[in-house]
Point group: C2
Chain length 350, copies 2
């Protein structure tokens, strides 16, 4: 436990009620959910969970524990966030609008620059599903206590399958022993069986000043350039000439995998990144929601078309207003390639 | 060769130029092409062959050899036939409109009752494709000559694959040795290899009076009831109370498989019944038309939707304004079952 003042006052977790700033990262594209997810309406804004979007669910999930919310996202879709927030008529939300995407290290840094050093920050992706709110709040509470002690805390999810698309954290108690990037199936199976590994869910809790200090140590250029960008902001909007100067790096590479102050809180909380149609399918199966499962196929349609699948199984069929996707189960990661190809072609269907 | 007058004057093929009445059967549903083919617009009226329908192609194919045309079809779609005929501004067409479908024996009988006994009739389905017009005309010419001699002639197609969905004719020269209904794959393979079998294409040539005489011998009730129905016709429209009295039987069962006057003319003429998406796919491959083949899949779309198939092959995907069908190659016969199920459910998608 670091008991030395680390750039700012040590927060006393005992005498402080949980007081958190929720930093919601909403700049993602969700390209593996194409054609549902589009440039103009990325995954996190799709109202596909009983009429709610993952963004809405994320805001609502953190409302009971957050004193206020900072939404960091990009210029092309921020109106979707603002629209929802307006409908909630809450005033405790601020927006930081990036004119160009510079990955998560910069996004989190921008939010921290807007805060006092001892403010406790809860960074969340806005495009994940968390089924068990109680477990989530318990995990955040533990993370909060560690953050008060100047740790940088990541929430680790106990894996239930040998997923090869996620990063893994080797851990013991609250200590992080190592990071493992997207493993082979063999390694993932070993990680799962050992019980010593957690999925890196991209949910972090720390004091703003602690994060900035760590960023200064490991990626001083990101900090400097982001400071300059923040200084140029107008009502939360960062001009593109400043954004473009910031090195684009994920917070995992920039800070998490290097920091000596990292702790982890392990939890099972019905988490899914819903990052692909496979994980959407898995999520529905696990939660015994069969809304899109027809026979042995997964069908999502945004039209009222009558869809008949004959003699096929384990097939994913997605239909939107202007596109149709057909892909077998366990291959939906490849949807990303389709999105990238379309993007390179300047396709209207991106 | 029958040289006895068979109910009417023997027609001399030498001194008679080819003078044919084309009877076009247009009452089919084409249910195996659902959702393209619909109750309101069956397969033969779909403008999917360079903007033309199979019905249009059938009319045009027989125009050079037919003195006039009788179109027999059902009340719900006859306007589609009339619409096209009107656009051709030809007056040599008559329409016989069935208020309820009673299969091909009745349909052909109705047309024959509208003709003189020695009129030579060429009966054609209106929903088949014939790629080689020259071979077709040659075959019809041979059939015509045999029809003049009071034979009932069927056009037989030299098979090029062991199709199990067709009827087969065992033949020698112009003689029909036997009929074989839809065979097993084993039998179909044997038929193909032996070279002694032809596909029954449902194209017939005979004198109207000869056909009626044969019908009288084998299915007197069909003849009697159809005569009564024909007597009640008004401008070619047969009232439903009369139609419903006619036994529903295919001309194959009613006459062809029983008649001693049957002859066959063998031909290869790029024939396809285009009865299923498999046969559409085969047809395009054989004719080196790749318009609907994308990678190893067959995609028909009536919208401008962007369609992406990933990690699948030998898949048929059909999209219309209100329906989507996905079925593997070689299984598209099962589409008929979907159509029947929808029909039984009184579905709007039939």
């Amino acid at each position: 436990m670091p008991n030395v003042l680390y750039g700012q006052r040590l927060v006393d977790p005992i005498n402080r009620s949980m007081d958190i700033v929720n930093v919601l990262l909403s700049g993602g594209v969700g390209s593996r959910l194409w054609p549902l997810s589009r440039k103009s309406c990325p995954k996190q804004y799709l109202p596909i969970f009983e009429g709610k979007s993952l963004f809405e669910l994320s805001v609502e999930r953190n409302e009971p524990i957050a004193s206020h919310t900072i939404i960091v996202g990009n210029a092309s879709t921020m109106h979707l966030a603002k629209q929802f927030i307006k409908s909630k008529s809450t005033s405790k939300v601020r927006f930081i609008t990036e004119s160009s995407p510079r990955n998560t290290a910069a996004a989190i840094c921008l939010a921290c620059l807007d805060l006092a050093p001892t403010d406790i920050v809860l960074v969340c992706p806005s495009d994940h599903m968390i089924g068990d709110s109680k477990a989530y709040l318990q995990a955040i509470h533990k993370a909060y206590q560690l953050a008060c002690k100047e740790y940088i805390v990541t929430i680790g999810i106990a894996p239930n399958n040998p997923e090869t698309g996620y990063g893994y954290i080797q851990y013991k108690g609250n200590d992080v022993l190592a990071f493992r990037e997207k493993p082979s199936l063999e390694n993932a199976t070993h990680y799962l069986e050992s019980g010593d590994f957690l999925w890196n869910a991209g949910i972090f809790c720390f004091q703003a000043g602690v994060f900035l200090k760590e960023l200064e140590s490991y990626e001083p250029e990101i900090l400097t350039k982001t400071k300059q960008a923040w200084a140029a902001q107008e009502e939360g909007f960062i001009p593109v000439e400043y954004m473009d100067q910031i090195p684009s790096k994920s917070v995992d590479y920039a800070v998490m995998e290097r920091s000596q102050r990292l702790k982890v809180v392990a939890t099972e909380m019905g988490w899914s990144d819903l990052g692909s149609f496979d994980s959407m399918w898995d999520y529905q199966e696990k939660n015994q929601q069969a809304e899109n499962v027809e026979n042995s196929n997964f069908v999502i349609s945004q039209s009222s078309k009558h869809i008949e699948l004959i003699g096929v199984e384990n097939l994913i069929v997605v239909e939107t207003e202007d596109a149709i996707l057909v892909v077998p189960r366990y291959q939906s990661q490849a949807v990303k390639d389709v999105y990238e190809r379309l993007q390179n072609q300047n396709s209207q269907f991106v």
